[in-house]
Point group: C2
Chain length 227, copies 2
Amino acid sequence: MPQLLHFLLDPFGRRIRLSLAEYGVEPQLRDEKPWAPSEMLRDLNPAGLTPVYVEDSGLAILGAEALTEYLEETMSDPVTLLPGVPIERAEIRRLAAWFDVKFYAEVTEPVLTERVIRRFVKGPQGNNSPDTARMRQALANLRPHLDYLSYLAERSSWLAGPHLSLADLAAAGHLSALDYLGVVPWSDYAVARAWYSRIKSRPSFRALLSDAFPGVTAASHYADPDF
Amino acid sequence: MPQLLHFLLDPFGRRIRLSLAEYGVEPQLRDEKPWAPSEMLRDLNPAGLTPVYVEDSGLAILGAEALTEYLEETMSDPVTLLPGVPIERAEIRRLAAWFDVKFYAEVTEPVLTERVIRRFVKGPQGNNSPDTARMRQALANLRPHLDYLSYLAERSSWLAGPHLSLADLAAAGHLSALDYLGVVPWSDYAVARAWYSRIKSRPSFRALLSDAFPGVTAASHYADPDF
């Protein structure tokens, strides 16, 4: 059985879990914490970074970027997460990169760091208190991103067009991590919320909804598809 | 003639220029400054981000991530920048992502911001003085990355194996931007230097060596293949 080493609240690990489920692969999950990588993870990736996917053969693929394309190259029959001709695939990849680079830097990373990781790892000032100004800024940054998500979700069923794609799974990786923490103001964003409800109802999402990270309780509506 | 909208010192724009040259395509370059995007750029990409590639048909592809895969999907015959079987391609993409994510966050972005962009854009404290502590930290971060580059370059002619690949061009995009600014301590890293000299001697690199960014003079050895 293939294995996936991942940090439960990491948006990239969540995206890979969703992708694998869409491709019909159910890996054995091995929980990792970025502040205390296991020996197995250090052996596979001296940088201590997740996600890492280990095939039955023992072959390991490191990092969400490489893994995303690798899975598509080796598993995309019959399910593809990059449907269409090259220009359509480019648009899907552009959107995925938007969430993975911009959204991550402006929202997910600061929220995760200040709300979760800071409890376990001391900050630059040597303490464990969250940087509340940084957290506030990240939550303010979230709003224009939700506007953009709404704009995309209004045009079509899925973010890059009529078919579910990597763009949806990338966005869902980030949004679901934030939703676990209960910081997404869904009530102000009906269209984005409808999109999230749609993706949350997919069988590939089911495993994520029973996630429980030790010491960080999920928001009460987290597992509810009709939140 | 296709066009490439790019910021001359941006490592991602540099990588796309190198890739296009390796594929045998010579686009018309349109210089952009991230702090003052042109109307054309804003029309093509409301976020004002480069690189943007515009085909003869007018079709635009946005962002280095999407563009990299798009070029490979549409131009990789006979030249491929992702040679090999899927697992080899995964290793190339992992290395490219290492430079584009880790190296960029720890080295290129702070150096570019503090040394170049800060002259034109005020910082969070509302002034134009570089954050020298941030700059110093970035230059300290550069050293372990050069160790890693040396380790890779020692195993084979190119970073991901016997063939030039996207991994080399990604690394060269970052290193050449830093080298323009004269901040790479090459004399302490003979193996990395030999690799850089090798890639710098390729015809695809030639155009980059005559780069001149207004107001920021290139280091004296920048254009010299025997630096």
